[in-house]
Amino acid sequence: MHLAAIDQMASSGASLFHRAGVPSKLLMTLCLLGAVIGSGDVLALGLLIVILLILHLIARVQFKELVHLLFYPFFFSLLFALLKFQESWASGLLVIFKGTGAALVTLFLLATTPWVEVFAFLSAYLPGLLVDIFLFTYRSFFILIDQVDSLLRSIKIRGGYHPFNVIVNVKNMAAAVGLILLHSFEISQRMYKIYLLRGYDGGIPIVRRWWKLGYPDGVVIVLSAFIVIGMVIAWRLL
């Protein structure tokens, strides 16, 4: 469901970062990822995370969603950090910062750019079939999530929700998963026929005019440059 929430933010947002083109945002993402993963300095990383949080603030990403989603990488890096904390505080924190920081970077991309646009851009570089799977998965996800919603709702309304009874739940869960899978297969079979009818012969053609750069792109590109330069300077200083 978080995916739906994030996608909603990406497609309804109107911040500078929402308006910037995909190539410049991908460039920034790569720079930021490089900076986060490559960095060995706790302070620099902490600063970077602060910058990232500010970016999220500017893009008006809902912090509730963000906190939920950051929970995974934070918790995991914490686990790995536990071993490192035995060496030193700094190396433990570094692990946590890296894990959480990298997640902040990809989340920022996804919260400002609809998934579709990301893969539309990547379609130029990835094999067509793979891109198609990503795009179909996107549509399928939203069709299915409605169904899952109604199914869970029905189970709840019909009294099939027992938070404390595992056996009943395993049975109900298998039934629910089976039903959803069945629906999904039937939908996919109908969808395939529809694709054929509508002339699909490999490759969902999507055309975007990436080369039109606006001032938001300028800002994003300059930001990327600053990050790279900043990181290089930080390395030099060490």
């Binding site: 995916l3 890096s77 570094l94 959480t100 198609d132 179909f136 899978l181 069945l182 996919s188």
Partner: protein, 245 residues
């Protein structure tokens, strides 16, 4: 069951690069191996399977504190090779959400993809002799054991986990509950209770107990789903395991 959920920045660069390389090679090989026309016809099916996996991973579909990924089921329903591709797609999308690092998508795909490959292949081999439901249980269990072993081997070989004490893995498994339970109020209570149980046991005993329970659960649910399909749409199961894909 056996996500490693490695965050970015823990695994040395060489490892994740190799992970990406191998999993991409497998993905390309699968997509190229069969003729494009055939794969094209299966894309909606693969996409739906991926969507189901995304949803069951990110929604507490199960009211129980386990996080199933149904990769073995994917291998049985869409075929082992295509199942692997589905796992890649799912992992990539999850990584963009911070669920597992973006740099370790390759490694995650290899470890979970094994479930699709082994589960699908074993199911194909066994079902002729033993029938669909027993084969589903056995294949899923085998696939999960295999990927769990692979995960532990990998983590210990890069020195993240101490193979003698089991530290690290246990917490990893514990987290899996948080993944499902943490998002919805009302499920919290179970989680805490369960976590106490986990802490009460120690070291490998706990790890094995948790893993064992998880493997049994996923095998049973997978088998129930297969049984449901055999009742309602046997053609889907037969289709997937008869033809070579």
């Amino acid at each position: 069951m056996s996500h490693i959920h490695l965050p970015d920045g823990v695994v040395p660069a060489i490892w994740w690069a190799v992970g990406y390389l191998i999993s991409l090679i497998v993905v390309f090989a699968v997509l190229k191996r069969v003729d494009a026309e055939k794969v094209r016809g299966r894309i909606p099916e693969m996409a739906m399977m991926a969507a189901v996996m995304l949803i069951t991973m990110s929604v507490p579909l199960g009211f129980i504190p386990f996080h199933m990924n149904f990769a073995a089921l994917a291998g049985m329903l869409v075929g082992p090779g295509l199942g692997f591709v589905v796992v890649f797609v799912v992992n990539f999308i999850l990584a963009l959400l911070g669920h597992g690092g973006i740099s370790v998508v390759g490694l995650n795909t290899l470890i979970i993809g094994i479930e699709a490959l082994a589960g699908g292949a074993a199911f194909r081999l066994l079902r002729g002799k033993f029938g669909a439901v027993p084969s589903a249980i056995v294949s899923t269990a085998v696939a999960l054991l295999l990927s769990t072993a692979l995960m532990i081997l990998f983590l210990s070989s890069i020195g993240v986990v101490n193979i003698q004490s089991g530290e690290g893995v246990l917490h990893g498994e514990n987290h899996a509950e948080d993944g499902t339970g943490g998002q919805e109020e009302g499920l919290h209570r179970e989680d805490t209770a369960y976590r106490f149980g986990g802490i009460a046991l120690a070291g490998w005993a706990a790890v094995l107990a948790v893993l064992f329970l998880g493997i049994i659960l996923e095998s049973v649910v997978t088998a129930l789903v297969i049984r449901f399909f055999m009742k309602v749409r046997p053609d889907i199961v037969n289709h997937a395991s008869d033809k070579d894909r």
